[in-house]
């Protein structure tokens, strides 16, 4: 509609119109982004607050403590006192019902100033005071190094197992003529959307019988038997590698195993990196499996379970919970910022080509 009106009036140049749309859409996006990231800002700011600030009425949004002022060897609370000319920050020295005596913190030499009115009605003066040690307290209370080590170990071992075994299987699906291969392939893809619960109880029971419950084994061993989405992605990639390379190697008498290690694996590095990143973060985030298999063994908890336990124990200490949550996000975010391109390309390949 607006297009037509513009055309009728004066032929506004296409460039100018594009510029207006650009400004409008960009500011809309910025506004959405701001709202989208509010929780993150809240988390950071909250993590830096004192315990006391949560329960105090009139406390500001930013991490702050009530200002104090030292006067003649004693510490007094600072209030915002409205005097004739303007509001001044003054320390309350002598409390009184009808009138109180203050000292101007910017001009203490002037001595006591009497102010008429109830000091209880005054606002406290707050000063910025971020509690950086909250992060240290959270780090120590939650025993973060141990959680981190457990998580890294879990993520690294399962990633290696799942990616390597998936590469083997993907090579099998991509390069060999096998009877009923399509059926097998569809079967493999169907495991991707199979709800995990349907296999859970018998596997849990078997693990319980062989003494694996309470250890990392039930979480790690299955990864070594390939992983549906990984196989799919790597297979797509292998099929784009020219066959000539394989054939040339075969002419030279190389065995399929040799071809796999010296041609397929080196050629598939981009796919393997993407898949590894995905799997790593999948394991980093895994919650249900550690919850079931590691219950009652806090020394083996990964970050996800440790953080939940921490939240249950310290539910009143919002600042520490926010600090611990942020700490747990730091490593994934760092890796993300460095490996962003690989990551997003990987998302595209898994998501669109299916």
């Amino acid at each position: 509609m607006s297009d037509n009106i513009l055309k009728r009036r004066k032929p506004m140049s296409r460039k100018a119109r594009n510029r207006i749309t650009a400004v409008l859409v960009t500011s809309l996006t910025l506004a959405i982004l701001f709202v989208f990231l509010i929780p993150l800002m809240y988390g950071i700011v909250t993590a830096l607050k004192t315990d006391a600030q949560f329960s105090q009425i009139g406390a500001p949004l930013w991490p702050a403590t009530e200002a104090q002022f030292e006067y003649e060897g004693e510490t007094y609370p600072v209030y915002r006192v409205p005097l004739e000319d303007r509001i001044r920050d003054m320390a309350l020295v002598v409390k009184g019902r009808q009138e109180s005596q203050f000292v101007d913190i910017n001009n203490p030499q002037a001595g006591l100033i009497t102010w008429e009115g109830s000091w209880r009605a005054l606002d406290r003066d707050w000063q910025l005071d971020p509690q950086w040690q909250n992060f240290r307290v959270a780090w120590n209370t939650i025993n973060f190094p141990r959680l981190l080590w457990n998580t890294v170990k879990y993520a690294a071992i399962t990633t290696f197992g799942a990616v390597f075994s998936s590469a083997l299987v993907a090579y099998g699906f991509a390069r060999f003529r096998i009877p009923k291969k399509n059926v097998l392939f569809m079967l493999m893809l169907s495991t991707v959307i199979l709800p995990g619960a349907v296999t859970l109880i018998p596997t849990y029971f078997v693990y319980l019988q062989i003494g694996w419950v309470g250890t990392w084994l039930p979480l790690m061993v299955p990864a070594f038997f390939s992983w549906g989405t990984n196989v799919f992605l790597i297979r797509q990639f292998i099929m784009s590698i020219p066959l000539d390379l394989d054939e040339a190697a075969m002419m030279d008498g190389a065995s399929p195993l040799r071809i796999f290690f010296s041609i397929i694996l080196p050629q598939s590095v981009p796919a393997l990196t993407a898949v590894s990143l995905f799997h790593f973060f999948w394991a980093w985030n895994d919650y249900f499996n550690p919850l079931i298999y590691l219950v009652g063994h806090p020394e083996k908890f990964p970050i996800t379970i440790g953080l939940t336990a921490f939240n249950n124990l310290y539910s009143g200490r919002t600042n520490l919970i926010q600090a611990a949550s942020l700490i747990s996000a730091v490593i994934p975010l760092i890796i993300f910022f460095f490996a962003q391109r690989i990551f997003m390309q990987g998302v595209v390949i898994t998501g669109v080509e299916k």
Binding site: M1, T21, V25, T26, T29, I32, L33, V35, F36, L37, P39, L40, M41, Y42, G43, T46, L61, S165, L168, V169, G172, A174, R175, F176, R177, I178, L184, M188, L194, P195, A197, V198, L200, I201, T203, Y204, F205, P222, F225, S226, N285, Y287, V295, I303, T304, L307, T318, I321, Q322, S325, S328, A329, P332, L333, I335, F336, Q340, V347, V348, G351
Partner: protein, 324 residues
Amino acid sequence: MTASTIKKTVKKPKQPMTNIRKKEARWGLAFLSPWMIGFLLFYLLPMLASFGFSLLRFNPAVPDESTFIAFSNWQRAIMVDREVRLSFIRTMHFAAISLPIGLGFALFLAIILNSKNVIGKTLYRTLFYMPSMIPLVATVLIWNGVLNEQTGWINMLIESLTGIQAVGTQGLRWLADPQLVYFAYTMFGLWGIGNAMIIFLAGLQGVPTELYEAAEIDGASWLTRLFRITIPMITAVIFYQLVLGVIGSLQYFLAPFVLTGGSGFPQGMTRFYMVYFYKQSFSFFNMGYGATLAWLMFIFALVLTIVLFGTAKYWVYYAAEERK
């Protein structure tokens, strides 16, 4: 892709396998063996065993006391235990709210990021994707704080923008009000739309530009182009996201479990199907009944997938089909 099509044309069915072909198949099977063993050990056998367990009264702590009770568990789950039906309805109710909002938001962001006129697209892409990298437990805890009715910033923002009383016990109690709790959970989910956004974006970039050029010559407005070209051309991507989303919703567990420990607060609203399954199987150790619930979930998932695929032919457009 080309490799497999070449093979297909070369392959002649009904021909006895030569020795070379046999050898090739053997090598292939050797490479597939990790998957085949895994499939047998971690999928097929457990699935069948799970069905077997569903016919038992079974507690793993006292396996010797297991008794065969035929279809009693099934009868209980389908006819007697109202919680099964209720938790399934809750799960679907939540999916009906969170999936359209989540996918709609992801698509909306992708359209913005695909627009020619936006300044700083890579930065937006990074920043909108970034929260998807935060561990989900941390996401849930951060949102739990920011949605707090007293000290959370969301209510403060709403109150300062609209003047509606949002802060305080009389305000918007996002996580305690049964009317609001699904919207609160949906909001956590928005921090995980990064993948969907990138996939939609790739889909949008695959729409042939000739279509837009032709539409522009015909004088189609921006909205017409969106609804007549853009969205129809990426229905396949939307469909894929929808199927994954529905299956994922059925297994929704982490957020309600982290926040409520499975208590269902408020008023049972967050006792979703997977939470109920967990309670029965791993809190009460009714594993026979748990296996029944798991099988029912599998059947739900199968039916939902089949229904979705059944609807696909009415609204999903596959570019490849046309080329045939």
